[in-house]
Symmetry: C2
Subunit: 398 residues, 2 copies
Amino acid sequence: MDVRLEPAVVRGFRFAGVAAGLRNEPGRKDLGVIAADSAVAAAGVFTTNRVKAAPVLVAQARLRRGRLRAVGVNSGSANCFTGKPGLKLAQDSSAALAAALGCAPELVAPCSTGVIGLPYELAKYRAGAEAAVAALAPDGLADFARAIMTTDTHPKVVSATLRLGGKRVTFAGCAKGAGMIEPKMATMLAFIMTDAAVAPGALRQTLRAALPHSFNAITVDGDMSTNDTLLLMASGAAGNAPLEGRDLARFGAAAAAVSAALARELVRDGEGATKLVTVEVRGARSAADADRVARQIANSPLVKTAFFGCDPNFGRILMAVGKAGVAIDLDRIEVALGGIRLASRGALHTAALAEAARRMREREFTLTVDLKLGQSAARIMTCDLSFDYVKINAEYTT
Amino acid sequence: MDVRLEPAVVRGFRFAGVAAGLRNEPGRKDLGVIAADSAVAAAGVFTTNRVKAAPVLVAQARLRRGRLRAVGVNSGSANCFTGKPGLKLAQDSSAALAAALGCAPELVAPCSTGVIGLPYELAKYRAGAEAAVAALAPDGLADFARAIMTTDTHPKVVSATLRLGGKRVTFAGCAKGAGMIEPKMATMLAFIMTDAAVAPGALRQTLRAALPHSFNAITVDGDMSTNDTLLLMASGAAGNAPLEGRDLARFGAAAAAVSAALARELVRDGEGATKLVTVEVRGARSAADADRVARQIANSPLVKTAFFGCDPNFGRILMAVGKAGVAIDLDRIEVALGGIRLASRGALHTAALAEAARRMREREFTLTVDLKLGQSAARIMTCDLSFDYVKINAEYTT
């Protein structure tokens, strides 16, 4: 099964993205709607930040029953730190969308992304929701993807098709987010739709299983949003028999692959990013050790600026490894950049640095650290820290 | 007692900084020596990074006896990840300095700062050590301070004088370090000399007591060096009676003030820094909670780029608070920037943002977060994240 970087029609779902005037940027799409033809199985995971935006609280409660009819997403305002009025705003917004669709408000999940601390105008949202519902189309995912962007430089959509339970099953996914990204058991805004028939419980398990190697394995700046939301919805329009055993496992693998592809797109479009770097840590004594080392490397400003400068800076990598506080043996550790071994058996290979620097000019490369102490591994995708990250974040108000 | 940003003569100590050719930059001072007239009481703290440079291991062992005659510091090479040859290099280097001074090698502490993974030339060090010993002078601290610089833009020295035990006692301190700074129970290279008479045990306690509010309360980029070393040496030349009770406490307070002033200078000269920001967290349920929140704020790339952009970005501050994972109540939290209250009682004060932005144009300001849940507080000094941080670290090999 191939995951493609393009939208697809997923039977049972329609999409729209409209300019509702929520951002005060005339003509800019800022309200996106996903609508299923009827209530569908849905599962969600949300930010673990102690500060949770109002729409997160509302969506979290609504997902408990495992069914959704629609999702309404606005950009421009995060509707976070907006108190009781913000909570009401999230509820009223999804009620407005529910009214336009003719369904119960409890079947609509609200999502917001943008500036923290400021609300948006309900009247504009209401008019926008009506316009969006009128514009809903099976091939509207690209419009939806554009409407939910903030500092993203381009919309991020992926799709995949496979045969399951004797039927052709399609996935389409969409995500936004370029900064404030180190989700950890949560994510930025991301939505994955499938026409497979899956029970809500199985869908929830599928989503949790897909996380560790997708949205929880990426970082842009080590910062964690207050609005992170990932939803997985299954319309059942494919008409497959209930998924069990091997088919359910294949469904899970497909959902994981789609999640990983979307997560990768988030890092590739990380704020100011010029490079996608996969940090692989192997030979650790435990998975937790491997994960700690990989995250220390992937979040170190000194390592990330060295990526930007195409500098095979072994010292900074070693510094980050040591900072993780896990067991290491300097005589055993092996470090390779873009496949070029920088250090092994306690010695730096200075002759290899020039070739490693050349490999770092690629848009994507892998940094491998083998601790040679055990069997555990971890993999985190990160990007470099460039002038543009500073420029974007010194000038933009989140 | 005032702490001044200038060198002072400390009876019992002499200093030198010479160009030994270790850096291959003709004429650039790269070897500094601190020599006491005879063996003096000394205490040290070192990096907690699991990767420790060879000179750290050697100095750590030598400090156990609480006495030193001299310190030899080279810049250009960190002598870290240099294996057994590196350990021998550190030992041979301090033996060379000991020979030039005519003392036992065990009384000499080696320190190194610079590129990780590469050694320096012992022959050059030996010749440099002889030249430095010949140049030792009571007023040589400024030369020493210059010799130990790497990406620092200027030497950092402080001094203070007070009366203790019936005598005039002087402190002088010197530090280097601009990036790879979040020491945590360690520090970059820093040296504090006093002519007070203090027993080694009391000196060790004094040093540990000074840490939490000085070198352990700063961060530039959240990265932790492999070579962090802080030494406190007391010559006893002031001739005071043994310090006890109230006098020992006053000595401790003075050492803490000198440490804090040096630590502050490190942050002010943080790589690319244009602003020094004191992050104060109050009203936390525990000191650990307060410290976690303060460090999350002080290390957040999004908060630090907002500092650079003079953007009173409340949302990012709130994101960092929530990310710390400690108890918070959004209806109670209060946030102020440069004395201007940005948020309280669950609401953002948009009318205050313009004035807060003005206050952020100062070179120094304070960010205060009051959680209003308890009595505990923490204070961390940090700097902004600027284009120059990226420039320096994309172009310089640590």
